[in-house]
């Protein structure tokens, strides 16, 4: 009887398939896809950007020069700031622990940023094993977006040099632990080193110029109300960071940053 019949039918599309692979735990599941890895690129990138801005602003204290301490002695403000960083959150945590916490966070962010970049590069190479045999005519891809890998590698190599220079003192003549202002002057007074710092910071700025805009897309932060600010924000931060950081080698060579013992 027609009235008692129930409608029986399968999926609308005969070929519809749902994925049956077992899922990894929450965050690993997200990281397994390219879109997920781009979130990681974006979030670790934001951590890096915050550090870079903080680092640049902290270094501006080199221009304050000597300040009088509470006990009446004179000290370089940059050195005072460096000592303060080790005293951060004391007595909640012991001397130096808060700084190490920040360092571990930065190292973790850098490692994740590099791993995501590496695995996405491998994926992209596999996606086009045979390249175009004629030259491409790119329409909107910028130099910055096309050179992210190169500028990223340059920045990582620079970080290694920078640590060996001003944190460990391996490549800094007469390095004195805790005498940040003296070490800065000793390092940047060497013309080749000053040029290295300038080049590396231009690479960093180029990386940020695309990265800061790109992270909004990767995170899905897209809204007609603020979209036109994204490019401006990326250009602004990249410019401020480059101008601030490049000023240190130039001002050292010009003698503005100058320690009597160098």
């Amino acid at each position: 009887m027609a009235m008692s019949q129930t409608l029986q039918r399968g999926p609308v599309s005969g070929t519809a398939t749902s994925r049956t692979t077992s899922r990894r735990p929450f965050l690993l599941d997200l990281y397994a896809t390219a879109v997920g890895k781009k979130y990681v690129m974006a979030v670790t990138g934001i951590i890096g950007i915050l550090f870079i801005i903080g680092h640049m602003v902290g270094n501006l204290k080199a221009y304050i020069g000597l300040v009088e301490e509470a006990d009446g002695t004179m000290a370089y403000d940059l050195d005072v700031y460096a000592h303060f960083l080790r005293e951060l959150l004391v007595p909640i945590v012991p001397h130096g622990y808060a700084l190490w916490g920040l360092r571990l966070g930065l190292i973790a962010a850098l490692v994740l940023h590099l791993h995501a970049a590496w695995s996405l590069t491998v994926l992209n190479r596999k996606a086009r094993p045979v390249r175009y045999q004629s030259s491409r005519d790119y329409q909107v891809a910028s130099f910055a977006s096309r050179s992210m890998r190169m500028t990223g590698i340059l920045v990582v190599l620079f970080i290694a040099w920078h640590l060996a220079d001003l944190t460990w003192g391996w490549v800094n003549p007469g390095y004195e632990y805790g005498e940040v202002y003296r070490n800065l002057d000793a390092s940047l007074s060497r013309l080749p080193v000053a040029i290295l710092y300038i080049v590396a910071n231009i690479a960093l700025g180029t990386h940020l110029f695309h990265g800061i805009w790109s992270l909004f897309q990767s995170m899905g932060w897209n809204n007609p109300r603020f979209n036109r600010w994204r490019r401006g924000l990326a250009t602004g931060i990249a410019t401020i960071v480059v101008v601030g950081n490049v000023s240190f080698p130039i001002m050292t060579l010009a003698g503005v940053i100058s320690h009597p013992s160098v």
Binding site: L123, S145, R146
Partner: protein, 258 residues
């Protein structure tokens, strides 16, 4: 007023099968009217090749009015050639000048194997659509118009995404061979509408993960948007990225509690 283009040199990619080694082959077009479409120019070349007893150049084409998504071609390093917002079939010879050399290559991506010459197999796109690019609901008879209220901007945004004809220019133009613009368009035209909400998060999860099996990753160059014959915006990619993130944290038992 039509003019005639003279002395065009075509460098056309010839390849006998998916695994064979291909090469560029040069042909000269002595004379062609600037009113000819690019595909008509290739038709004329093929007529000549056939009359000379040679193999015709194999290329994809169908509607020739920019709505089917069948034609492709990398022309002088640009997907669908130098005209913005059109497919190859809507490109006309007036965009070129006498004496030009025109290089024609197939789309290149591991997910788009070359079938022959300039024809590629784009069925990887079908795999993505099969995994979620539909609404699984008995729709019944035609509903009354405006039964479900949809704000005009939402309907417009959904229509912008729905314009995707699946030609593959986004993948071809992407330096990474990514299909994010295609997938985002196929997700967004449903996810923006009330009818698409029931499967919104399973759709984005399944389609993004199927895309991952075949294509590269998005690094936000924007080349896809520039190449798209329907000028679909990379805003759709951001929408997909946001929905994929939400899909991973959403309690699906409480979908209605936004």
């Amino acid at each position: 007023m039509s003019t005639t283009l003279k002395n065009l040199t075509l460098k056309v990619w010839r390849q006998t099968g998916p695994d064979s080694k291909g090469h560029f082959e040069s042909h000269t077009i002595d004379e062609i009217t600037d009113e000819a479409s690019f595909l008509e120019m290739l038709d004329i070349l093929n007529e000549r090749l056939i009359s000379e007893g040679k193999e015709a150049v194999v290329f994809d084409h169908d509607c020739r009015e920019g709505i089917c998504g069948t034609c492709s071609l990398m022309i002088n390093g640009q997907a669908h050639g130098p005209e913005r917002g059109t497919a190859t079939c809507q490109l006309h010879m007036r965009k070129f000048t006498s004496g030009d050399t025109i290089v024609i290559e197939p789309w290149r991506a591991s997910a788009f194997p070359i079938v022959r010459d300039l024809m590629v197999d784009r069925s990887a796109f079908d795999r993505i659509v099969e995994s979620g690019g539909f609404i699984t609901a008995a729709t019944g008879g035609a509903p009354d118009a405006n039964l479900i209220p949809i704000p005009k901007p939402v309907a417009d945004a959904s229509m912008d995404a729905a314009q995707c004809i699946g030609c593959g220019a986004c993948v071809a133009a992407c330096p990474n061979g990514a299909a994010n613009l295609f997938t985002a368009a196929k997700i967004s035209h449903l996810n923006l509408l009330p009818q698409g909400q029931a499967e919104r998060f399973s759709r984005v999860e399944n389609m993004v993960e199927t895309m991952d099996d075949y294509f590269g990753s998005c690094t936000n160059h924007g080349e896809c948007e520039a190449a798209c014959p329907k000028e679909i915006s990379i805003d759709m990619i951001a929408l997909m990225n946001a929905d994929y993130r939400k899909a991973k944290v959403k309690n699906r038992k409480q979908l209605a509690r936004s």
